[in-house]
């Protein structure tokens, strides 16, 4: 049903959307500015600041690290998250209720506390190298996405199809890969891409798990902003927004973006 909305309410919503989009537009403008300092509207247009990003080794290095960490931790999370999501749906009755709560914990526990605790116990305590701890932290961070998104697609999967395949003599492992997995393909792709962008954007966990020579892009951005106030950061931000657009396109084609409003 579409009731008529009060015009004041519509005007308010329009203002809110200006508030949401304005700052991002300003960042794009600032990235294109010809000046050596951050300003908006841009004085003259240039793509110089985008070249500058790649000239600065700190940004090049941290970008590569961020992509590597995001890829590895997302793959790890999916590798252990898919069977978990399957088990939580398929054997719901046999498994204790607290098990699904356990996978909510990475969302519930403050990220920054998790980051500090990993530094304290795993990196300093156990003595694992910085990179491994960073990957563990990011895997924990994105695991809930893997479990939740794939559980959501499994919820609409009819397990009797799988049983039919097994009773016709298909080995369980083969059945999983040929029957179950193709049916939740959209969920797996969406989970991958959402987990990936979450890892790329993370600050609070990486904060404690970066050391000399190893840092992630957001941490590098924070460090750079404290010292310089030039348009380089704006252009890095624009690159990250481009990545966001790609992520949204993928989610739209798999689950549909309205999935995120559920």
């Amino acid at each position: 049903m579409t009731d008529r909305l009060h015009p004041a309410l519509i005007a308010f919503a329009v203002l809110v959307y200006f508030f949401l989009m304005g700052p991002l537009v300003i960042v794009i403008g600032a990235a294109l500015s010809d000046t050596g300092y951050l300003t908006f509207p841009p004085q003259g247009l240039t793509l110089h600041w985008f070249e500058r990003i790649f000239e600065m080794s700190a940004f090049r290095r941290t970008m590569v690290t961020s992509f590597q960490v995001a890829t590895v931790s997302t793959c790890c999370a999916l590798l252990i998250g898919i069977p978990t999501a399957y088990a939580l749906n398929r054997y719901r009755v046999q498994l204790p209720g607290w098990l699904s709560t356990l996978f909510v914990l990475p969302v519930l526990i403050p990220e920054i506390v998790l980051g500090f605790s990993l530094l304290r116990s795993i990196q300093v305590g156990v003595g694992l190298p910085v990179v491994s701890t960073l990957i563990i932290g990011h895997t924990l961070l994105v695991l809930p996405y893997a479990v939740r998104v794939i559980s959501a697609s499994l919820a609409s999967f009819d397990f009797s199809i799988e049983e039919a395949a097994v009773s016709l003599g298909s080995p369980p492992i083969k059945t999983f890969f040929t029957i179950v997995l193709p049916n939740v393909r959209a969920g797996v792709i969406a989970a991958f891409i959402l987990a990936f962008i979450t890892s790329i954007n993370d600050v609070s966990i990486s904060l404690f798990l970066t050391g000399p020579g190893i840092s992630t892009l957001p941490i590098q951005i924070l460090a750079h902003v404290e010292q310089f106030f030039d348009p380089v950061i704006a252009s890095v931000s624009v690159l990250l927004m481009v990545l966001t657009v790609i992520v949204m396109a993928v989610v739209e084609r798999t689950l549909g973006l309205t999935f995120l409003a559920k």
Binding site: M1, P110, I112
Partner: protein, 275 residues
Amino acid sequence: MVHGLKGWMMAAPATALVVLCLVLPVSATIAATFYAGGGPFDLYAAFLSSGFRRTVLWRTLEISLITTVLSLVIGFLTAYVVSRAPPRWRSALIILAVFPLLTGVVVRSFAWLIILGRNGIMNNLLVWIGVDGAPFTMVYTQGSVIVAMVYLFVPLMILTIVGVLENIPDDVIEAAQSLGATPVQTFRQVIFPLAVPGLIVGSVLVFTGSFTSFATPQLLGGDQQMMMGTFLYQRAMVAFDWDGAVTVSAIMVAVTLAVVIGMTRIAKRLNPMTT
């Protein structure tokens, strides 16, 4: 039984990771607060006896609460419009809310630095208009942190509430209308009460998110507006005061869990659909 075992085996790697690398380290951090000082509660006493630390805790609670209330009001009104918009507009508006949500916290906080900075757009504008006393110091104030936080959380609030509003069955609303309720009455007596549990879920997400945030207070609050997150980092990585850091961590976990558990209980009790 066999099925149970199969299920356990499949969930085992992820379970092991969460237990070994999350439950144990975080528990160790919290446990450390009880034995690191002289007596079991010495670290907490030390935290609360320091005027500066009390201010940080109080400021964090205050900023988080203001952020939550503002995001709730803005998010609810906007979500109501979104959920009532014609289908094509609705999906466009949802996409526009998802975009900032998926854009990182650092980028979104940095945007406000460009706007509110001393040589930022706002000050340039005020100088250009000729406002007395401009440029003003707008960053490193409580207001700048709150604006950036509200900016950060409004999309999350919109999406959460749109989801809830769409789950309200149309027949309930139609029933109210066919019984003669005016649109205002329908809103007050049917839609709003049914949306309350969702409003609570959204508020919990925003409050805990603000309470434990780092990048926004770091960029827009600096040392002047230190919050629990930035204070934890400062204790652990700048001052190397790990006793202080574990105490801040434990307080953050306690507040987060208390808010989540308490509010979930209230949300359940207030849900008219379950009673």
